[in-house]
Amino acid sequence: MDSAEIAVHIPRLRRYARALAGDSHRADDLVQDTLERALVKFHLWRRGSDMRAWMFAIMHNVFVNQLRQRRETALDEATEAGLESAPRADPLELRDLEAALARLPAEQREVLLLVGLEQLSYAEASQALGIPVGTVMSRLSRARERLRELMSGAAPATNLTLVK
């Protein structure tokens, strides 16, 4: 066995990352960080367990860290700007799935994509995200409902702020 073991997962990791991160450059950054971390931690992977779920778990951690860093940056910038103008939601031009997806809370987006796009079982998604199956189900349910609202343009005009 050789690097093929990790390599076979690259196309799927890229598909998931693209949907998760939105733009292709950021998505590939996410994949690259994930691959590097997977290499370093490879000895921790239990042979025989599902490598794909393990790789998604690593990507989840990388993603959450990146979100946190971006949020801190955003907070600094907002503080400097005197917190005067919270960014307003775009006009309800949300028939575009990509745009709607980007407006889902990250934790809902992850669940929706692991299940709907990557076809992981609920148990695998729970393992990858480190949350109980019950939480997978509630996030999935909220994500689908929220996506429906956004796609039908019936979304309540929430004030999306960078700082949550």
């Binding site: 066995m1 050789d2 690097s3 093929a4 073991e5 990790i6 390599a7 076979v8 690259i10 196309p11 799927r12 890229r14 598909r15 693209r18 949907a19 590939d28 994949v31 690259q32 691959l35 590097e36 290499l39 370093v40 490879f42 000895h43 799935l97 990509e98 997806l101 929706l112 994509l113 299940v115 709907g116 796009l117 076809q119 079982s121 609920y122 189900m137 999935l140 349910s141 689908r144 996506l147 429906r148």
Partner: protein, 248 residues
């Protein structure tokens, strides 16, 4: 009958229930218009996500990601995790570097075929680009893209029906992948790539790529690889049938 929960409806929409559970939900859906509508909508959402993002699977992997596997391993890691890491990644790369290019080229065939199998065989909705119902179109299209007339073996006697095929990017140009499936849903792929080296023939060779068994051979200017997640003996029967039909 106990009431159907929201979670069960999601699981039904996502195809995560066994037969008995599925029948129970279907009985419920027959009398619940609203739930039926939800399930339809959720499936549409799943489908839309795949339509939007599946093309990423066909994109060539950027160099920096391929390189990430080979270059980012620093020597101290070999020392730290010499066993698992070196055996799984490092050693493979080091050994490959010493092999002659010809051997590497040939060895790349079963590996690429196994990667393509691993990516597409589990696909539920989009295992192929063109289905077996348009077989003539499929063969003409792939033959044209590979610049060589292709034949699609018939594997009905071995229990496999053609699902369809797709075009993939390969190191040396386009590659064709034909997919077959048996009654149990077990899938086999035939990976056909054009070689730019001198035409030649080789005997059957076997390679085990993780869980995927691959039989491969070269026939003139085409390289063939038959891949499946099944044991060697069983795959050999199918591989022999494929070989005989392609070389009558």
């Amino acid at each position: 009958m106990s009431p159907v929960t929201q979670s069960e409806l999601h699981a039904y929409a996502d195809g995560q229930l066994d037969e008995a559970q599925r029948l129970r939900i279907e009985a419920h859906l027959a009398q619940d218009q609203r739930a039926t509508e939800s399930v339809r909508l959720w499936r549409e959402q799943n489908e839309a996500l795949r339509v939007l993002y599946n093309p990423v699977l066909n994109e060539p992997v950027p160099q920096r990601l391929r390189a990430a596997r080979a270059q980012r391993v620093r020597w101290p890691y070999y020392a730290l995790a010499a066993g698992a890491l070196a055996a799984s990644f490092g050693l493979g790369w080091v050994l490959r570097a010493y092999q002659s290019e010809r051997v590497v080229q040939l060895a790349a065939l079963p590996h690429s075929a196994a990667v393509a199998y691993a990516v597409y065989a589990p696909e539920v909705r989009h295992p192929v680009e063109v289905g077996a119902d348009q077989q003539d179109h499929l063969v003409k299209w792939l033959s044209k893209r590979l610049g060589h007339e292709l034949k699609v073996p018939l594997l009905t006697q071995q229990g496999f029906e053609l699902v369809g095929g797709r075009l993939l990017p390969g190191g040396k140009g386009p590659v064709a992948q034909f997919m077959y499936q048996d009654a149990k849903g077990q899938r086999i792929t035939l990976y056909v790539s054009r070689r730019d080296a001198e035409p030649r023939d080789t005997a059957f060779r076997f390679s085990q790529e993780d869980k995927i068994s691959v039989f491969y051979w070269i026939d003139g200017t085409l390289g063939y690889a038959l891949s499946a997640e099944m044991d060697r003996a069983r795959l050999l029967i199918v591989a022999t049938a494929v070989y005989r039909q392609l070389n009558p």
